[in-house]
Every structure is written in structure tokens, then in C-alpha cells.
Symmetry: C2
Subunit: 719 residues, 2 copies
């Protein structure tokens, strides 16, 4: 009895729910806080619909999006929800329906072999990939735990032995190639197996989940906690998979805390589980996960995984800022943790989540690069400059070392394509990753970083990329001049790339400026391409484009270039500018590429026989035959377009000039605003924080310490 | 005193505000309802900022979006708001600032000639087009009215004689070519002149505004009420200009009601002013105006014009459904009407706006076609089929007779490009209509209607189009089979076009089907093109497209065809299908074109040297060398994509087959659903509502009365 209940209780001890004392009506329904009450009502509708439809446990046949796939997903949700409703209401109809579903699985499951629609992923039995089988088990155990003690011994044994234990066996001993990995699929498997072990009182299953099949600790849940997150709780595959992986981590951690309190799992590795939740929330803009690597851009904090994570993290910490996230989510989970969270939210205890600039180190030891988030407001929708100086991120990683993104109140401005995939849409290759995910979405040219000789980083080989870390050389998280300096060697055989990205607040400008100094240092002569993928409508440019008005060629043959239509190719001496509008704001991109560069305007969507790609614009700065190349670019958000009031202000750029020069061992960038104000930014080659530097601008000497100096030339004083 | 106040009071008698008894604090601030209180605070911020900035009345120089343009707009808003704030608070700082602004205009205005940036519109003095001068006067008079009695006689005289009267003179006697038109520019001029007349006690100005410069009634405000709206309150230029025109109509009407109550202006022509407000709200989806004709698609009920219209209409009617619109708007006006509306909204008196199907007759007599709105839910975001069987709509009308649009909970699905224009964005030709507005946006091929021989309707000559009405032959506004049948003769010299559009509710389908039967009947042999402009990502198709994967040609040379990139050209025997996804829903477009047709996939954006066009997909059904052509098409919304829950249902179409045949004098369309259910829709040539028809389907005879019959073949009974 204690064991079956403990599964549902987080570390923060909550009172046990009376599963055996089963009232036939819901005595506490009136006392639920609104957020939780809505979940209860929603679950009742779902489960009642399932009861009306009757037990439907089909023989597995379809891939993602197909009927049997979706039906088994519906079933595990029904088992989870029905179990929770039985706990909350004591209504035996919920218990009986969950029981009947589980009995049907107990009849079906032992007869199943590998799923007939299995593709290149490890085959499941209920689903085309075993990952979904793990998700099934994680959910089913949580639901089953609520009714197990209220079944007859015979029913209990049939379900234990026909469904739960064989599922756990399949996902452990039966799938060593899955559960033995250091990978989110393995975490789901561990969580399913471990939860089953706690429920069945099967220590062997629990230990295999925690310590690997050989119980050595070289694989298993704890090892995953060691290796899959950086010390800052950043997940190597990126935010999309951080979200996905989070649910088994937090759900299994809560079960470990309840069943093996001596392990102090929430303190493990400096509290890595809670750090992972915190970081997952931080790697969002307007609630949506930054779509780096393989990622669907429509994933937000409003997902099942984060409902669990936020409820469990709040139960473990009582940190009131989690409540504001729950408020934005508008949902919580049906567990006691969700109930307690909803009550505190209703009691007005929420505090705003403190969005801030962060250096999220990457790699298990935190020394293999970083994801840097630079924010100048504590809001979910304010300006956010992302520097992706991370590790490869395994098979879901893109070839985009030193990539950057920019978000602000208008949404994603400098963009990442994310993954080429239509999740669960059967007509799109069963909802799997599409061929264009390799040929376009993960290619370097699809990102805002340097491409050498039209080839992707690591020649597009992620295993090669996995061996090469990035280097976060220096970071400044405080205003008014926040910065990230990163470097990578090895993305190309003979070119080292270094990039400084700065978020610069300027008095009198409503929006920060984003300064980008990128240098490729190479042997031999190369073609250097630096794309900017942006969202918005082009307003104008001072570049003389040769436009491809009536016949549109493609840019290249391979490595993503074959997917780019060419709209124009042009040149401009000195600083060049492209202005576009996105939402209610204008953006001017000022460029100072190496001498001889030209500018190519493109749109994605060429060589796309199945219409799998979105069509999005990019501007590429290109220089040919150079050994080294320094690209200095400045993104200037400005002005306001108000459709309601029919007013427009500052549709023209305020940045009048941009100059760059090398001075001793530093890059000096001079920004001249309309009206004549000048601002100088210096970025030293030596990134030591204590190193003193000096430079001469307009005949005046300036000094600064550390990698970045800033001078307001109107006043002549360093900040 | 009475006269100056009456301007601000709507027909529903509101208590006079104490403009002379001027308290120095705001005694009533605490009693404002939230909606109004927010407006007061916003206005205070605006006006205080203007006070801090000081009086800035620049010599006119810039076109739309430029500094002097925007500054004069800011100034009229400050005059309006400052006057209202003085009325509400009695704070003399507001009075003095409004006075100082008006005195500066009194100094400047008499010296001005035609605006230096005037283009092809009638030149204003403060603005590049006189239209903006009218808007200035409408606003300025309303603000000035609040402070006029609190000025010294000398100040009053300087403003009356230096600004208000000369502005009114310029817009009346000085601009006969503007005020004498039957056009929204003339309405704004009439309102400005008439309001000025009431304020100055100048009956001559009032009568010229009401009855035209010659006071004959052949032009002027009343004549505009006769001719610009149909009997249903539909404005000939379309919803975008209906919105724009509404403000002078309602503001001037409220002033007439207050100053000339004997005219019973709100009863004029069957209550046409209030009908126009009601219709303006009805021609929206999710609060956004349907962007037919020249229209910016980002215009919603959240605009100054509609704040005035809703407040004045509510004051005149106390219809509580206006309150729900005000609630959606989230704004109201600073006038007593706005104050009263906000109070009633706060008192919980709002009732939902009854969105419903409507036949909006067009033309002054209601006999020149119609805009038909077919809705199957009373909600602002529910399914909406629009049949545009209207008149040309003068110079802002597009060449899109019998065009259709479709909206639902995902937004605009079957789309209208709207206008090619970036309103007030200086870099886009001063914010004016762009060349692509003629070459693309208004062309027939840019719409979802029949193009004959690659030529626009009326060879793109709107004056020719203005002479030719459309015909609304029959309309059925009630479910489950709502329909519109329209016809036009004369869009092409020798081709008559008839189109039936039906919104069909089907038991068991979550969304209605949209059936389209279009027939071109011509002499000679023609190329017939029927485009569908849609929003969304293509999922798949059963058409064998020859794809233009690596080089993209344009479709044609002129009449909009030069702006279309070709993505593919293909054929399919029998019914053809294209499925796309928009938001969370799938849409399958099933087509049964004439024999020999092929299908062309296109995207807008070719031959666009200044990047003025959005890039949007279309599918064109094309048949060559036909005399007559019947296109039967069915749009089927289906399924659900849920990014949060990672579930997809019904991504495949439920419509398995579509058949069409002519039987006696009717079109019979058979729709077969997956599973075998069949539905027959019959549309008779004779649209008389009492006419009885019969047809034989599958050897069984059916009868129906009126133009449209419907049969469920599973049951064999007519509905």
C-alpha cells in the first residue's frame, strides 16, 4: 500500500490520498483551485468519452499519426487520468475502466513481436519506436498505481504479469541497445522500468533503471544525470529535447525521492534535476522553446512534460516563481503536486519568473562550450540574443557552431529553421524526420554562421562533430554591453572561427543594438558565406541588386545550397544595409564584410519535391578567394508600425555609419548615429578578464580591461 | 454655449459637461469605469508628453510617414484629447496647450498653398492629400469645442478666423472637386466643414456640408448617405473603406442629431447610419475586416473609427450587443458617449454580438449584387464563407466579381491579397498604393474567381466595371445547406459567369464543407483559369505535378500573371485533390474541372523589383480551348494538429469521391464520404424559390423546390 502510493508523491511530503476509502461522489470537488478543477473536469470528459467508446486496444499496425498509434496514446492517457480520477473521486467506474484497459493490454501484450511499421529507430511493440512504448509505461504505471490496491488479487496478478512486468522486461533486458545509451530514449526507458519496479516491489528492475542493466552505474538513470546535462542543467541535444527528456527525469526523480529518500535524488550532482527544470524555462522566448537543433518551433511550456516538471519542481522547492510559469501554462497535472500548485497559485503566491542573461555551459563538465542567453529585460518577450557555442548535440544536433538568434517583442527576428518534420502527420512520411532535415535544416547554410567553401561544418558528419567541442572564451552578462565570445577549431580542416556577439544598450535608443564580429582564419583561399535568416518583409536596401525577376535559379548543388532560390545578387562599397519589417517593428541590418564581398538574397524552398520546406528569406554575405575574413554586422531594431492607430515612427535606420579597424590586438567598431553621436566598441583578441588594453580613436587614447571596451565618443569616457 | 457643447453630445441626451466651471483637479476620476479610465490615463500621458515637447507646428513638407505628416497627425490628436481632458478635469494646462496649438495653426495656415509632396490625389495644405486635412478638421473641431468658451474673445477670434474657418473654406468652396464627390473623401470633408459650421454658428457651412456647395442636395452628406451605402448599410468600396468612412458619418450624424434634432438623422433612410455600423461589425472575422478590394489585412475593430462608431451607436440604441464589441476592442473614445458605454460595460450589461449569415445587398437601391456572409456559428471566429457578388466599388475596387473567401477558427484559409501597400511606411513610396496594387493585387488572377484568356475583368478598367452590376440570383441563409448564387455578364465581352457557393453542414463532420459550382458560358474558344489562393503548408496531392525544382519560371506576361512563379504543372484524371495544413487544421481541396484541365501551383512574388509583394501560394485549375466550362470544387476542412499534446487526428480527407453531372436543368453533385455515405446537392438553373425540380440519382427520383436541393442517399430522403 505504501509503495503503490509513494509513486505519486513528490519529495515534499503530501498527505496520502484515500484510495481504499472510496466515496462514490466527489466530496472535494468544490475545494479544488480553478487550475486544478479545470484539469479534473477535462480528465472527466476524456475518460467518460473513453468509457462510452469502450475498451479499444488494437493490434499495433500504424506509424506515428496512424490510428493504432494514436489509440494507444489515448489509452495511456486514459489509464493515467482514470487512475488519478479514481484517487480524487473514489468513483469505481474510473477504476473499472482503467482495470479493463490494463487487462486488455495484459491479453494483447505477450503476443506482440516487433512493431510492423518499425523504421530506422529501435522497434517498439505497441508503437513503431520503442521510445513510445517507454512513454506508455511511464504513464500507465502512474495510473495503475492508483487502482492497483483496489483490484482483486487475480486482476492485479494478470495486469502485473501480463502487461507491466513484460513491458518493463522488454524495455530493460529486452532492449539493451536502448536502455544502455546515454540519451533521452534511455531516460524514458529507465523511468518506465524504474516506476514499474517500485510499483511491483521489484528491486531488480529499480536497480537496473538506476544503475544500468549490469548495475555498475556506467549506464542507467544516475549516469544519464551525470552526462546528459551540463553542470548548469543544459541538455546536450538542445531545448526541444530538453523539454522532451524532462518528464522522465522529474517523474522518476519524484518517485525515487518518495521510495528511496536516502538517495536524496533532488540534491544529486548539486541539484541537477531542478537546475534542468530551471534551465528549460530559461531557454524559451514568449514561452516557446528556442528551436535550435532538431526542433519543432511550435513547442512551448504548454506541454505535458513541463506541466509535470513545474509541478514537481514547485513541490520540491516552493519557489513562487514557478507559479507564474504555471499561470502562463494554464494547465497542471492531475497529481497531488498539481493540486498543491494550483492551490498556491489561487492563493496569489505567484511571483514573476526572473528571466535574465545566462551562460549555460555545455558538456558534462561544462567545458565544451556554452549556450549564451543575453537579455536586457526580465520579461518573457523582451530582447534575447542567443549565441549557440554548444557541443554538437549528437544525432539531433545541427551543423551550426557559433550560430546566433535574436528575439524580441515581435517574436523571432533572426531565426533558426528548426527541424524539417511534420510531427505525427502521416502524409509527411509518417510524421518522421524528412529527407530535407538532413539536406537543409541541419546544414550550416541554413544557419546564421560561417560556411566555408559551401560545405557544412564537420562535412555534415555529426559523429565527427561530437568529438569537437566549442569554446566559450568570454561572457559578459551585465549591461549596458552584454557579450559572448566563442571559438571553434575543427569545424573545417583549416579554418578557425571566432565570433563576438554583443547586445548593446544605447541611451536614447528604444531597442538594443546587436553587434556581430565574426572572423574566419584559414590556410589557403576559401569562399566564405555568412547568412542571415530573418523573418519579415523587405522594406529597402542600399545594395544594388541584380534581381532575378522572371526566372529564379538555385544557389548551389549540395549541402543545403540546392534548396535556396536566388532573388538577387549585388554589391555595395562600404557599409551596406538591408531593412525589413517584422510585426510592428523595423530592423536594419548593417554590414561591413571583407573587401570584394557581394550580397545574395535567397529564399528556401528549391528542390523540394514534396513541399516539405517552409519558404523563408535569407541574406548571404559572400567573399571569394580569401584566406582570412572578418565580417562586422550590426542589427538595429527601430521604429514602430501601428496598424490600429495608422501611425509609423522611425521607419528609417538611426545608424548612419559603421566602421571597423584592427588596432594592435583588438577589433574596433565605430557606430555613428544619425545626428553625429558616435559609439566605439573594442573587442580584444586576448580575452583574459584582467588584461588591460588601449586603443586610439580619432586621435584619442582609450583604455579598458578585459575583452570588451566601450566608449561614448561624444563624452570621451569609457563605461 | 449650447452650440459649442452640443457638438459633443449624441442623440441620446447626455448631461452637459461643465466646461466653464473649471475645477483644477479631477473630481470624478475615481468614478470612471475601467475602460474609460484607461483612456483618460492614456490621453493624459499623450497630452502631457506634448506639453513637455512644446508646440510644434511645422511647415508641411513630407508625404505619409514623414515627420511633418506624423507631427500634424499627433497635433490633431492632442487637440482632440486635450479638449476632452479639459472637459473632464477642468485642468487649465490642457486648455492652454490646446489653445496654443490652435493659435500656432492660426498663424501658419493662412500662409499655406498646396502641399509640396502632393501626388495624384487632391492636394491638401497640411498634408499631401486633402483627405488628411479633413480628418484634421474633424478632430480639431471636436477638441476646440471643449475649450472655446473658456478662451478670451481675442483668442477665440484668432483661432476661428485663422484656422477653423479657413480650413472649412478650403475643404468646401476651395475644394469643389473633393466635397462634391460621392466618395469617402467627400464625407470626411463634409464632416469637417459641418462640424466647423455648427461650432462657429455658420449655417452656410452646415448647409453646404449637408446639401452640397449649391445646397441642392445633389451632393453633400445626405446624398452620400443615399448613395454610398446599400439599403443594408454596406459601403460600396468594401469593409476597409466602410471602416474608414464610418467615423465622419457617425460623428457628423451625432452632431446633426444634437444641433438639428428635427432632422431625425438617425432615422434617415431607414436608420442607415446605424445599419452601416452594424454591417461594419458583421463584415469582420475574429474582429478583422475582410480585406476585399484595396484593404490592409491588419485592420480590425480596434481602430479609432470603430471606437467612435460603437460608442455613438450604443448611445443611440442602448443595444447591449455593442458592449461586447467594445469589450473586444478594449478601447473607447474620450467623449461622453464613451464614458457612458464604459460604465454600462462595467455594470455587466454586455451581450454577445449575434454573428449570423447575412445577405448584404449592394448598390444604392440594393439591386446591384451583394456581399453574402454565410456563417454556421454565432461566434466571431467560426466558419465564414464570403461570396463577393458586389459592384465594382469605384477606384478601390478589385476585378474579382464572384470571388469567394473562407475563414474559420484557424484564420483566413481561402484568402484575398488585399492591397499592395505599406501604409505610412516612407521607404515604400511614401506609404502610398504601390505599382503592384494595380499590376497584381487588383488583378483578377490574384483572386479566387474565373479568369478568361489571362485578362482581368473589364480589362482592368474600373470605370467600365462601375457600369456593370453583379446579380445575386438566390441566397439561403439557413442551415444545414446555406448558399449564394451569383452571376455577372459583362466582365468579359462574350462570357457569362455564374457561381453557386454552398456552406454544407454534414452530420458527423466537425466542420462544414464548402461546395463551389462555377460555370463560364461563352462564345468562341477560351482559356479558363480558376485560382485558389490559400494559406498554409502543402501536405500532399494526388496530382502528378511536373515540378519546377531547380529553376522557376513565371506564369505569364501581364495582368498579374507576371507576378506568379510556377512551382509545378500537372494533370489528374477524375477528381483531383490538394491537401494543406493551416494552424491546427487540415484542408483538402477536391476538384472536378472540365475534361482536359491541368493544375498549376504558383507563388506570388515574381517581377517584384522592390520587394513589395508577400509570397503566397495558389493553385490554378486551367482549361484551354473551351467554349463553356464548369468547375466543381469542394473544400473540406478536417482533422486537428495539436502541437502541445503532440496529437494528430484525421489528417486524411474524409471525402472519397466527388461527381458532377447535368440533369435536365440542374447541376447534381455527389459527395461520397469515406465509409460510403453519399450526399447529393442539386443546384437548379432556375432560381425561382417556388419552382419545383426533380432529378434522378442512382435510379431514384428526387424532388425539391427552389434553387438548391439536398439528399442524403443513405436515407433517400430530401432535407
Amino acid at each position: 500500500m505504501t509503495r503503490t502510493l509513494a509513486l505519486l508523491l513528490a519529495a515534499a511530503a503530501l498527505p496520502a490520498a484515500p484510495v481504499l476509502a472510496a466515496p462514490t461522489t466527489a466530496p472535494s470537488a468544490q475545494t479544488f483551485a480553478p487550475l486544478f478543477a479545470a484539469e479534473v473536469e477535462r480528465a472527466k470528459r476524456d475518460v467518460e468519452a473513453s468509457i462510452r467508446a469502450g475498451v479499444n486496444v488494437p493490434v499495433p499496425k500504424d506509424p506515428g499519426g496512424g490510428f493504432t498509434h494514436e489509440q494507444h496514446k489515448r489509452n495511456y492517457r486514459t489509464i493515467f487520468e482514470g487512475g488519478q480520477l479514481y484517487r480524487l473521486t473514489g468513483n469505481v467506474r474510473y477504476r473499472d475502466h482503467v482495470r479493463d484497459l490494463l487487462l486488455a493490454y495484459a491479453d494483447l501484450y505477450p503476443k506482440l513481436g516487433p512493431h510492423p511499421a518499425a523504421a530506422n529507430q529501435a522497434a517498439g511493440r505497441l508503437f513503431w519506436q520503442s521510445l513510445n512504448d517507454s512513454v506508455f509505461l511511464v504513464n500507465a504505471v502512474q495510473g495503475y498505481a492508483q487502482i492497483r490496491d483496489a483490484l482483486t488479487p487475480a486482476e492485479r496478478q494478470r495486469i502485473d504479469d501480463g502487461a507491466i512486468r513484460p513491458m518493463a522486461k522488454f524495455l530493460s533486458d529486452g532492449s539493451p541497445e536502448v536502455i544502455g545509451r546515454i540519451h533521452n530514449h534511455a531516460t524514458w526507458a529507465c523511468a518506465g522500468v524504474g516506476l514499474a519496479g517500485y510499483l511491483l516491489g521489484d528491486r531488480d528492475l529499480v536497480d537496473k533503471a538506476l544503475l544500468g542493466l549490469d548495475k555498475s552505474g556506467r549506464t542507467g538513470f544516475l549516469r544519464q544525470l551525470d552526462l546528459l546535462f551540463s553542470p548548469d542543467g543544459y541538455y546536450a541535444e538542445g531545448p526541444y529535447y530538453q523539454r522532451y527528456a524532462l518528464q522522465p527525469f522529474v517523474v522518476f526523480a519524484a518517485a525515487i525521492a518518495a521510495n528511496d529518500p536516502g538517495r536524496k535524488i533532488f540534491d544529486y550532482r548539486g541539484g541537477i534535476v531542478l537546475k534542468a527544470v530551471h534551465t528549460a524555462i530559461d531557454v524559451t522566448h514568449d514561452g516557446y522553446f528556442l528551436p535550435i537543433n532538431d526542433a519543432m518551433p511550435d513547442k512551448s511550456l504548454r506541454t505535458e512534460e513541463l506541466y509535470h516538471a513545474v509541478a514537481i519542481a514547485y513541490a520540491a522547492t516552493k519557489d513562487p516563481t514557478f507559479l507564474s510559469i504555471a499561470d502562463w501554462q494554464g494547465h497542471t497535472v492531475l497529481t497531488p503536486e498539481g493540486q498543491a500548485l494550483a492551490a498556491d497559485l489561487a492563493a496569489g503566491k505567484a511571483k514573476p519568473w526572473p528571466f535574465t542573461s545566462r551562460l549555460l555551459s555545455d558538456g558534462p563538465d561544462g567545458k565544451e562550450g556554452a549556450l549564451v542567453l543575453l537579455r536586457d529585460k526580465p520579461t518573457p518577450t523582451g530582447p534575447l540574443l542567443v549565441a549557440k557555442n554548444t557541443v554538437q548535440g549528437m544525432g539531433h544536433g545541427h551543423f551550426d557552431r557559433l550560430n546566433w538568434l535574436y528575439y524580441d517583442e515581435t517574436g523571432a527576428v533572426v531565426t533558426d529553421y528548426g527541424a524539417a518534420r511534420f510531427l505525427n502527420v502521416e502524409a509527411k512520411r509518417g510524421g518522421r524526420y524528412l529527407p530535407e532535415n538532413d539536406s537543409w535544416a541541419s546544414a550550416t547554410i541554413a544557419h546564421n554562421t560561417l560556411v566555408v567553401d559551401e560545405q557544412s561544418h564537420f562535412t555534415g558528419d555529426w559523429k565527427a562533430g561530437d568529438k569537437v567541442p566549442s569554446h566559450q572564451l568570454a561572457t559578459g552578462l551585465d549591461g549596458p554591453t552584454r557579450y559572448s565570445i566563442g571559438e571553434v577549431s575543427g569545424a573545417y580542416p583549416d579554418v578557425r572561427i571566432r565570433r563576438a556577439l554583443l547586445l548593446v544598450d544605447v541611451d536614447g535608443l528604444a531597442n538594443p543594438l546587436i553587434l556581430d564580429i565574426l572572423r574566419g582564419t584559414g590556410g589557403g583561399r576559401h569562399r566564405y558565406d555568412l547568412p542571415l535568416h530573418f523573418s519579415g518583409q523587405i522594406i529597402d536596401s542600399d545594395i544594388a541588386f541584380d534581381r532575378k525577376l522572371a526566372e529564379r535559379p538555385v544557389l548551389g548543388k549540395a549541402n543545403g545550397y540546392q534548396h535556396l532560390w536566388v532573388d538577387g545578387d549585388g554589391t555595395k562599397a562600404g557599409k551596406a544595409r538591408l531593412t525589413f519589417m517584422h510585426g510592428s517593428r523595423f530592423y536594419s541590418y548593417h554590414m561591413l564584410p571583407p573587401a570584394g564581398a557581394h550580397f545574395i538574397l535567397t529564399e528556401s524552398g528549391a528542390n523540394d519535391p514534396e513541399f516539405n520546406l517552409r519558404r523563408e528569406p535569407a541574406l548571404i554575405q559572400r567573399v571569394d578567394g580569401a584566406a582570412d575574413a572578418t565580417f562586422v554586422s550590426l542589427l538595429e531594431p527601430h521604429g514602430k508600425y501601428d496598424a490600429s492607430a495608422e501611425t509609423v515612427v522611425a521607419s528609417s535606420a538611426r545608424v548612419a555609419n559603421l566602421e571597423h579597424r584592427r588596432d594592435a590586438a583588438a577589433d574596433l567598431v565605430l557606430i555613428t548615429l544619425a545626428g553625429g553621436r558616435r559609439l566605439a566598441i573594442a573587442v580584444a583578441d586576448d580575452v583574459t578578464s584582467t588584461m588591460k588594453h588601449s586603443a586610439t580613436i580619432d586621435g584619442r587614447a582609450f583604455t579598458w580591461a578585459g575583452p570588451v571596451g566601450r566608449f561614448d565618443l561624444a563624452k570621451g569616457d569609457a563605461k
